[in-house]
Amino acid sequence: MNSRIDSCQFKTISRRGLLKLTPVAVLGAFAIPQLQKPLLKGGLRFSDWASTRLFRSGHLAPTFTDSDLTPFEKFPINDYDVDDPEVDLDKWTLAVSGSVQKPGDYTLAQIHALPKVTQNTRHVCVEGWDVIGRFGGVRLSDFLKTIGADPTARFISVECADDYYESIDIATAMHPQSLLCYEMYGQPLTREHGAPLRLSIPTTIGYKQAKYLTHLKVSHVLEKVGYWEDQGYPEFYGL
């Protein structure tokens, strides 16, 4: 009994020293400006890593019946800047570049020619709200095949008429529910919802669903991630 107490006490003393040092060391590390951001970002990076491991193209985001739909007029319109960047719909094309066999400008008719997919899925905003909408368009994976995207590429990045920009990892882009969306609720996209073409990716968060697309680039390296991500939001947004 005595020896047990002694050994306990010995451990207590040695750990006491550690305990006193550890919080100081951790808080001290956070106090160094150069270390602040990498340390804070560590949690998000680990989340992104964990969710990339978890993500499978066979796992579908929940889909809903028509009676679950949020009425179109109650589907929120979120912008970082303007509701309508005044896209000239007649002259609109999607500029494709990067690691693709067929770069160039693609018209809406060329995109319409691909098999159409319609799905009732959630649109989850990082702010905390979510709605269920009816989205129609073509699979991003079909479009990537059409443009001859390099299968070893890692990212798809898009730019928008309102200077918004976004990127997604290739696994998310190849997911069967990831759409280049030109229709909502059976009608062509309205200007506030991103006419003529937006992303609709139900496996990720709302700020990834870029509107008013103008450019699409396939790449191995990202120069910039996305408008919100570059201000500190998660990049993959799995978790």
Binding site: G43, H59, K74, D130, I205
Partner: protein, 239 residues
């Protein structure tokens, strides 16, 4: 009179905490890591909540539709609040989850849960198992009551409230619910998970407040020192 009886009951669990912690550096270290990460989660959670301080029930909910509760808080969309809030929330969530997992494994394998948290049918026999615990009890006859309350409170926090927080937290992720839809559907949907996440937070905050009151009742400096170093209890044992 009735109130004072209750407060006594609250104070006794604290006696056991510090005693249990004295025997295990793991419990003490995980206690403080959890304390720091809980505080960080709470503050960053408030920052995230302020982006949309309305709660809903079911799958969907947005500003345009009816809410369950409109919290009397302002909508704060400033990026300097939201970005760092998210960094901190995900970082501290991982710290909390990994610490919690370590604590759980330790608790099961070291029989910490069985010995110190599982309410025993016979308090007397428990005192026989750990006779040193009696040394720090101000009034041994009160300790019997405190014991049960303390054990139940900690069991609720460790096995119900924290798992619920992690569950509902994951249930809000579009990517995770595409892999495990039941994470959200069990509660009735994305917004239900968010609302439960909020209310479990409230319960945890109440727990922490009561916990701190109990520490004060039992002697703040002595209890906190015991939780950091274990020295108080050990000194008494040798005196």
């Amino acid at each position: 009179m009735a109130e004072s009886v209750q407060l006594h009951e609250l104070a006794i669990p604290e006696v056991n905490v510090s005693d249990a912690l004295r025997h295990s550096a793991v419990v003490r270290v995980t206690h403080w890591i959890t304390t720091i990460s809980f505080l960080a989660l709470l503050l960053s959670g408030i920052a995230i909540l302020l982006a949309h301080p309305r709660l809903y029930w079911g799958e969907t909910g947005a500003r345009e539709g009816p809410s369950l509760i409109d919290l009397p808080l302002p909508f704060v969309l400033d990026v300097p609040i939201r970005g760092p809030g998210r960094y901190l929330h995900f970082l501290s969530a991982w710290v909390c989850v990994l610490t919690g997992l370590f604590y759980l494994l330790y608790g099961f394998f070291s029989r910490h849960f069985r010995k110190n948290l599982l309410p025993s049918k016979d308090d007397f026999s428990w005192r026989v198992i750990s006779p040193h615990l009696r040394l720090t009890r101000p009034k041994p006859e009160e300790a019997l009551k405190y014991n049960g309350v303390q054990r139940l409170a900690y069991i609720a926090v460790v096995f119900v409230l924290f798992p619920l927080m992690i569950w509902t937290g994951l249930g809000m992720s579009p990517a995770v619910t595409s892999v495990f839809p039941w994470l959200a559907t069990t509660f009735g949907g994305q917004q239900s998970a968010r609302t439960i996440h909020f209310f479990v937070t409230i319960v945890l905050v109440i727990f922490v407040l009561v916990h701190i009151i109990m520490v004060f009742r039992a002697g703040f400096i002595a209890r906190v020192r015991a939780m950091i170093t274990g020295r108080v209890a050990a000194a008494k044992e040798h005196s």
